[in-house]
Amino acid sequence: MANNEEKLVFLDDLPETYSLEVPAGENKTLRLVALKQLPAKLHLVVNVHRDALFRGAFVDFTDVSTELDLQVNLLEEGAQCDWHLAVLSHGKANKSFSTSVKHIAPHTQALMSNYGIAREQSHLVFTGTSAIEHGAVKANTRQEAKIIVFDPGANGLASPILLIGENDVQASHAAVVGRLNEDHLFYLESRGVSEEDAKRLIALGYLKPIERYYDDPALVEKIDAVIEGEIA
């Protein structure tokens, strides 16, 4: 059986540029957590080889400005990438997350899923390019970039890009940036839930799903406590 390595990284420990090789047939999971501190710049490069799987999960609940740049290269046949990001930006943070994947070989698969909430005076940007190169037949790529802007002073932008150079592929994307939807709020409130609780429920719906990518119960509890504490 392949060597399956799991790595949990608190971002205080991370150098500005970090690269990861996922050798043929292996699974590697990188779990990143930023609850208080975060480098101003972070460049991650992941190379995934034949039939290997890279799983990444990133929680950023800080009010620290940052620029993250992730580049995943699916170099050989059957390489897969499964990426999930949950951001709760607040304070005066200026955050930009660029998550890109390149499908170079056939039968490669990628999911880039980014969810965020922008509060207070923060700015949150999700970008990234999912590129399927010529020859990467049967590649399957999906991008999700969703941001809810909670407060009048906050701002969000989601503009993922698909670049497709091969016919026989599947590609999809969903990008949504929106203010808190008044109809949703009224719907929830009309069932007896207060406005604050309704906002909280909507926010939890965005952030909580990330927890399933963290399997350390103590850490999940910690993430949970931050979500519950921040969204009160």
Partner: protein
């Protein structure tokens, strides 16, 4: 018995007046059918009673059980015992249905339910509505069909046991089986002593629920009030007689008499141009 009293209610949507002095009372335990041509303010009335912020009350009063409803937020109105099953329920991404129902049910109680009590209530409601319990794990209304959303509204009504439930075209989009399930749920609410204020364009549901009273809303006002015989008359004759008998000119065109769409057909309203 608590009373919902509406006095001289004027409501505008985006500065366009829709309701122009509605007077109406409904008691707990009564079932009132709200009739009237499309575009004359039926849905507006229900939305205003529940406190939808898109609808501005410019004049008038609403009281329920001695409380000034207009001074209350929608959630406080719900906790006071009002419920609105919406014509177009929202899809809320990422919000788990069961989590939401729990929050809503607990909001109606002074102390939170036990997990056991909650699961039993939830399971029973899903069973009554003929919805697979698995659906409770899905996000609130997300990707639900029109009929599933309507059943989901009735399910929430059951969970919250309102004193007065308002139902805005709860029967549109339902097939015959679902209609029977919904009718049964409404009959249970009647038996429990709840009041029902219903808008429906199809006689079928009203035949099963048997309203004790009916009111016809025309030109933003209640033109006629009466017993169930009014429902039958509108069903057979439409609204033309109102002009000849009462001298009320129907300002907006009446496009669709009742029963132009048969039960079992798709929910789209044929020949109408109104969502209000």
């Amino acid at each position: 018995m608590a009373e919902l009293t509406i006095k001289n209610l004027h409501v505008s949507v985006d500065d366009t007046p829709i309701l122009k002095g509605v007077n109406l009372t409904i008691k707990e335990g009564e079932t009132l059918a709200l009739l009237g041509p499309n575009g004359h303010g039926k849905s507006t009335l229900l939305a205003a009673i529940m406190g939808n912020p898109h609808y501005q009350v410019t004049e008038g009063e609403i009281h329920f059980d001695g409380q000034d409803i207009l001074a209350m937020t929608p959630d406080a109105r719900s906790r006071a015992g009002l419920f609105l099953a919406m014509q177009y329920p929202s899809e809320v991404p990422g919000l788990n249905s069961a989590d939401f129902y729990k929050a809503a049910m607990n909001a109606h109680r002074s102390k939170p339910m036990s997990l056991f009590e909650y699961y039993r209530a939830l399971e029973k409601a899903y069973q009554n509505m003929g919805i697979p319990f698995e659906m409770s794990k899905r996000n609130l209304n997300e990707g639900f069909s029109g009929g599933e959303k309507k059943r989901n509204e009735v399910l929430q009504m059951e969970l919250l046991s309102p004193r007065i439930a308002m139902l805005d075209e709860i029967d549109s989009g339902l097939d015959v089986d679902a209609l029977n399930v919904v009718a049964k749920a409404l009959q249970e609410q009647q038996a429990r002593g709840a009041g029902l204020l219903m808008i429906s364009h199809y006689a079928r549901l009203l035949e099963m629920v048997k309203p004790s009273r009916a009111a016809i809303l025309i030109n933003g006002k209640i033109a006629v009030e009466g017993g169930p015989e009014l429902i039958e008359r509108v069903d057979k004759q439409g609204y033309e007689w109102i002009k000849t008998e009462l001298g009320i000119e129907v300002e907006k065109e009446v496009n669709a008499p009742m029963n132009t769409v048969s039960i079992g057909a798709c929910a789209t309203r044929v020949g109408t141009n109104d969502g209000k």
